[in-house]
């Protein structure tokens, strides 16, 4: 009887070792032949998904962030980059930066003859922070984008914010903070510059290469990041 049990145990161990070996051979093949990129929000990582309805001036519609990327991007200048701002329409800093953000969306657009780099598509993920007095809505986000009257942004009429209407910026409804949590956003505004293949090229904070992207010794903003990193016809990134 003892002999039978030994045989059975041996069979199980033998089978386990053989199948485990096969499994780990598979793992090793994958490990040695691929170079997977983790999804995350640090520079060099693949940008996570961004869910929610989007507003580009013609009502709210569903939005698929993955459609913005070309995973087979080979560094060419014809593929578009993505700049995304995580913001709150009631955040005074976001209101103050609206002028520059809107201007940047026009400067780095393909229609600007003075810009010889890849087009940068601008997005803003608008949330409602858990701060007293921050009470946002889709109407407020639309008013912020369009610079239209009737809604209050950070204590003043949204039409009074600096700059012109953000006609080239797509706003995404993140009032439920889902995207903010997914992207691990610690404050607004936070900016991400994303390559055409979906890899994060620069983060305004929380990244691995914060600040000085062009090596001039000073803290840089997203304009410097775009100028330094975005593919240009005369060389660039």
């Amino acid at each position: 009887m003892k002999q039978i049990y030994d045989n059975e145990a041996s069979t199980l161990t033998d089978a386990f070792l053989k199948i485990s070996s096969l499994f780990f051979v598979g793992i090793l093949i994958i490990a040695f032949t691929t170079n997977g990129i983790a999804t995350g929000t640090e520079e060099g990582e693949r940008a996570p998904a961004l869910d929610g309805a989007a507003y580009s001036g013609n009502g709210w519609s569903s939005f698929d962030f993955s459609q913005e990327f070309d995973t087979a991007w080979d560094g060419n200048v014809s593929s578009d980059w993505v700049m995304i701002e995580f913001m709150d329409t009631d955040c005074p800093y976001c209101v103050r930066s609206a002028d520059l953000y809107g201007e940047a969306s026009e400067i780095f657009h393909g229609s600007n003859p003075d810009w010889n780099g890849a087009q940068v598509n601008f997005f803003a993920s608008a949330t409602q922070l858990d701060i007293k007095g921050h009470d946002s809505s889709r109407d407020e986000i639309a008013a912020f984008r369009d610079k239209s009257t009737g809604q209050e942004c950070a204590g003043a009429d949204c039409a009074n914010r600096g700059g012109s209407a953000h006609n080239l910026i797509t706003y995404i409804d993140d009032l439920d903070q889902e995207n903010m949590d997914e992207w691990d956003i610690r404050g607004t505004p936070t900016y991400f510059l994303i390559q055409p293949d979906g890899i994060i090229a620069w983060v305004s904070n929380g990244g691995t290469n914060v600040g000085d992207v062009n090596g001039d010794g000073t803290e840089n903003n997203y304009i410097d990041a775009i100028i330094t990193l975005v593919t240009r016809e005369t060389g660039g990134a």
């Binding site: 045989n7 059975e8 069979t11 199980l12 033998d14 089978a15 386990f16 053989k18 199948i19 485990s20 096969l22 499994f23 598979g26 793992i27 093949i29 994958i30 032949t33 691929t34 170079n35 997977g36 990129i37 983790a38 999804t39 693949r46 996570p48 998904a49 580009s56 993955s66 459609q67 913005e68 990327f69 070309d70 995973t71 087979a72 991007w73 593929s79 578009d80 598509n121 797509t170 055409p196 293949d197 979906g198 890899i199």
Partner: protein
Amino acid sequence: MPSLHSSHAKPVVLEVSTTLLLAAYALPVVLGLALILPWTAPLFLGLSEKFPFLNTRRDRIFAGLNLTLLAGLAISVQTQWIHAKVSEGANFCASNTIFSCDDVIGNANYNTMPVLDVSWGMVGMCTFAFLLFLSYASSKEPNATWVKTCIDLGALMTFVGLGVIGLLVSYEIEMEKICQFCTMAHIANIVALGGFIQLRMMHGEKAWND
């Protein structure tokens, strides 16, 4: 805002190698199915002198099951490899039309298991490895006391697999894309279910020790 998702022209050499690879995976699954099916005994009896295990119905089913599950494991490794390749930005599947593994496996909304967030390729690898362990161990010691448990567990897992297959096929319908490798893994699961069910029916009967 223009969509940036471009379609890519695939080199012909990759189309050929993908087809060959699919054929290589299909071969053991088809052979496994043939060994498992009840009415195919005459096909193999001629070879039984050279391969004695083809003599008995039980051993033919075990052989077919082992072969199918081994192919399932290999296909799962392939799908996990595609998952890793897609994440590094490569683009290599046979077609950019309806058959497109990179579109299916690369779709971040569907390519991982709900709740656990594990890629479907890895789920397949673990499942097929465990099923192969159950089947292979049972085939080596078919009269051991634990064989019935192994067979029951295998049948249950492959049956539950039908639900997972249904979910994944619904994803493919939603995406209007089909991943050939995933489909081959689904077929391997269905064939394995057939094998486990037949073993389950045979176990404890006279035919088991014929």
